[in-house]
Amino acid sequence: MSSVALEFDGVWKKFRKGERYDSLRDLIPATIKQVLSRNHRDELKAREFWALKDVSFQIKRGEAVGVIGFNGSGKSTTLKLLSGILKATRGKVNVNGKLSALIEVAAGFHPDLTGRENIYLNGTILGMRKPEIDRKLEEIVDFSGLEEFIDTPVKRYSSGMYARLGFSVAAHVDPDILLVDEVLSVGDMSFQQRCIDKMKEKIRSDVAVIFISHNLPAVANLCNRAIFLNRGNLVLDGPCETAIQAYVEAMGSWDSRANSEDRIRITDAQFSIGGRQKHSTMKPHTPCELAVVFECESRLPPFNVGFTVRRTQDMSYCYATTTQELGHPLFELLPGERLAVLFQFNAHLARGHYRLDLTVRDPKGVEVLLAANGVTSFSVDEQVTSHGPADLALKANILNPDVHDKTARRMQGTDFCETQ
């Protein structure tokens, strides 16, 4: 079998907007009308639109690829084309191997059947055979953590239990290709962790995984590569970080489009690291300053300024506060007046690329007056590998030196690999 598990070759997919004649009662008069006037055809054609435009990519076995993009960018369409639910209007979709989709994992459940019966039912729907399910039953029940309730009809389950059982079944199918659509959001933290571990295990066992999610940290964590789709176009296919960054940039341009209706704007923003401007890379814990000037364009309600730092790799929050929370009263500006703010902070941040957002908000009306996303961005460079956004400057001091020596001796000559 070739190592290419999935291939999209110049795929186009057309959908129709609006209502369709879905009953004979509507269709028959409409057809008669159409035959008589002959002009209605074009009107219908005009409502078609392309959900995917000339999208091509390849995914090899053992690769995990994230698909990211805004709502309506064609992610789920891509997945449905891959699973064979939809057919491409133009172009070719090649699937090499047994494919299994984790899309709405509890779709096949029947509320009147017990958990155990539903495992068999859903397992079969997902392509497993009865002996296979028999063999894995215990493991599936274990994974779901629902031993106690397994002989209860699932209509008595909570929605979390429902989804957990669904995922547990789906996670035990052995496909060559696994499609995952936003299902990791089920269950509590420990269950989510178990799901992520399970998926990593699959990737290691040479399964091609395609993962659709808005959860950027999860994409960055699971995938080796990401595809960024925007309005049906493949914008970028590359390393996760690059794709996520492109997505983030597109997102910035999305909600802070230079808007002439803005009642307040930023006339000047100066960012300096350790006293030096025009620099964007620093060591952790470096003091930074951001000087901003706001100018009021037209009448404004009293407002505060929100300050947010996000890691662009996955858009996770690192820090957020507002001037109000810092103890300042609300600002009031008249048209033409200016407000200058100097933000000072120490970047206790781990290695990575960060984005700084400023938000002018009216706390009473809960209205965003100005969203300056990515008013500046910077990178933190550090030798030490760590995970998570904070840099605690952690050191591990070994207090009894004999253990250290012994361990060091034992490790010599063995091919010990550092585990994360």
Binding site: S23, L86, A107, D112
Partner: protein, 261 residues
Amino acid sequence: MIGAAKELIQYKHLLFTLTWREIRIRYKETVMGFLWAIFMPVLVVVSGLVVRKAFSVVSGKPIEYTELISVVVKSLPWAFFAGSIRTATNSLLTNSNLVTKIYFPREVFPFSSVLTHLFDFAVAGSLLVILIAFSGLSVGVQILWLPLLLLLLILLTAGWALFLSCATLFFRDVKYIVEIVMTFGILFTPVFYDVSMFAEWRYVLLLNPVGTLLEAINDVVVLNRAPDPFWLLYAAIWALGSFLGAWLIFEKAEPVFAESI
């Protein structure tokens, strides 16, 4: 077509599991339990007996024992046909969450509806065998035709099940039409009566392939005579034609199911 059939064989476990699901749900948590299987046939039989009684009052002839058996013999296949068609027509819609989410041959839905009712038919049929055994009706060699006739009935049912399940997906009012046709269809089909009662008009009634098959089943089981070859051929063409034609249509339409539902 051959590809679709191969794929269906690959997914036969799913077909059986879905059938098992339907049967399981129906017999679970319902007070009537297994009585479900014979509820509809019994109702049809009883109404048949009422109609027969009326015939006998009007004509002044007493009801014959074979006539009663013949009502039962024709009621069961009718109940199978009508039940399958009713369930199958809605089968894709009621499973729309699966149709739009997971890939497998969609034929399994209408087919599993037919299989579910075939199960009920088998349960009711075994009761009928007991009834016939006690009635002292002598069943002759012509009964050997029965498997062929049942096969044709199943093919005909499956064909219409496929076609109507698919049509409902595109035109929602099809299910109302089916409901009405199935309710009154029994009056146009020789279930309560025999076509022979209509003398030369009987051919009009035999045009309905279900009626043709019911008459043939009655012939071989109750009257112990071979079915009329011309009408048997007619029914066979209908059955095979419906089955193959409907499957072709179904296969053509299947790629757009998920976006049309």
